[in-house]
C-alpha cells in the first residue's frame, strides 16, 4: 500500500487545497477511493492524488532562518514618515 496526498478544487475556485491522505494499492484505486472518501458530498469538482513519496519535501530546518528577518516586514511607516518630513521641510 502507498500513501497518497489528496487535493480537491472547489467549484468556482482556482486553487487545489490539501484535504487529507489515504492508503491505496494502485493509482487507480487511489482515485476511486479518494472520490468516495473525500468527494462523495460534492466537496469539489476536481481531484488530484499525489503519491507521498513523489512529493519533493524540504527538510524541517530549511526555511527556519527566514522566521527571524524583521527587515523583510515593512508596513510602510518609515517611508511615510520620510515623505511627510520631505513635504514639510522648506525647500
Amino acid at each position: 500500500m502507498r500513501v497518497y496526498e489528496v487535493f480537491v478544487k472547489k467549484d468556482g475556485r482556482n486553487e487545489f487545497r490539501h484535504v487529507g491522505a489515504l492508503e491505496a494499492a494502485t493509482d487507480e484505486l487511489a482515485l476511486v477511493l479518494a472520490r468516495e472518501v473525500y468527494l462523495r458530498r460534492a466537496e469539489g469538482d476536481r481531484l488530484w492524488v499525489v503519491r507521498r513519496d513523489h512529493v519533493v519535501a524540504a527538510p524541517g530546518d530549511f526555511v527556519d532562518p527566514n522566521a527571524d528577518k524583521p527587515h523583510r516586514h515593512h508596513d510602510g511607516a518609515a517611508v511615510a514618515a520620510r515623505r511627510m518630513a520631505a513635504r514639510q521641510s522648506p525647500s
Partner: protein, 252 residues
Amino acid sequence: MSEPHGVREYLLAFADDEHLMGQQHTEWIGIAPFLEEDLAVSSIGQDELGHAALLYELVLDLEGVEATDPALDALAFGRPSDDYRCCHLVEYTTSDWAEALVRHWVYDTFEAMRWKLVAGSSLPKLASVARKALQEEAFHCRHADALLDKLLAAPEARKRILEALEVVGPLVTGLCEPVEGEAEAIRTGVAAGSTTDLLAPLQQAAEERFGAAPVNSLLDHGQNRRTTRSADFEPLLARMREVFDYDPEAIW
C-alpha cells in the same frame, strides 16, 4: 388492470434489488479490510439506496400515492415478504470480503446494463433516473475493477476470489431472472428488453474478468420469477428494520 400491476412489479424488482444491495454494502462500514475501502463501499451502498428511493417513488406514482416519507418507508420496509421481488443474490449473506467483492462486481456490471434497458423508457422519470444512475455505475464498476485488477494478480487473493465466484456464481442467473410483470413493462415501452438477455453478456464479462465463467444452474432455481425469498431474507429485513421498529410512527 394487469398493465399497471406488471409495471409496478417490474419497478419493485429493480427497487428491491437496489435496496438490499445498498443495505449489504453499507453493512461493511467499520469492518471492511481497510479504512478507505470501508468508506468507499458504504458510500457506493448509499448510491444504491438512493436509486432504490427514486424507484420506490416511481412505484408510488404509479399507485397514485403521494411519495411521503411514511409512504416510502411502508413500501421499502413494511411489505409482507412475499410482496418483495428481489433476487436471491442480493439477499445472500456473504461469509467474507471476497464474496462481497465478487458480488459487488457482478451486481454493478449487471446494474449498468439494466439501467441501459430503461434509459429510453416511456416513463420519463425513470429515463431521467437512469441517466443519473448510469453515471454513478461507471464509477462503481471502476471501483470493483480496480480492486480486482490488483487482487487477481496476487496468487493467494486470486484463489480466494475464484472460490468466492464458486459461491456467488450460481446466484447470477437469479439476478437476471425477470418478474412476471416484465412482459407488460416491455410491451408498454417502460423497458427496452428483458433482463434475461443480460445473462449472456454478463457471463462473457465474467469470463473476461475472472478467466472463468460463473457456475450456472438452471434459469429457474427456486426463485420462481422472484416470488420466493431465500433463508437469508428475513434476518436481513430484520436488520434493516431494527431502528425503524423502535418507533414505526416516528418522524425523522
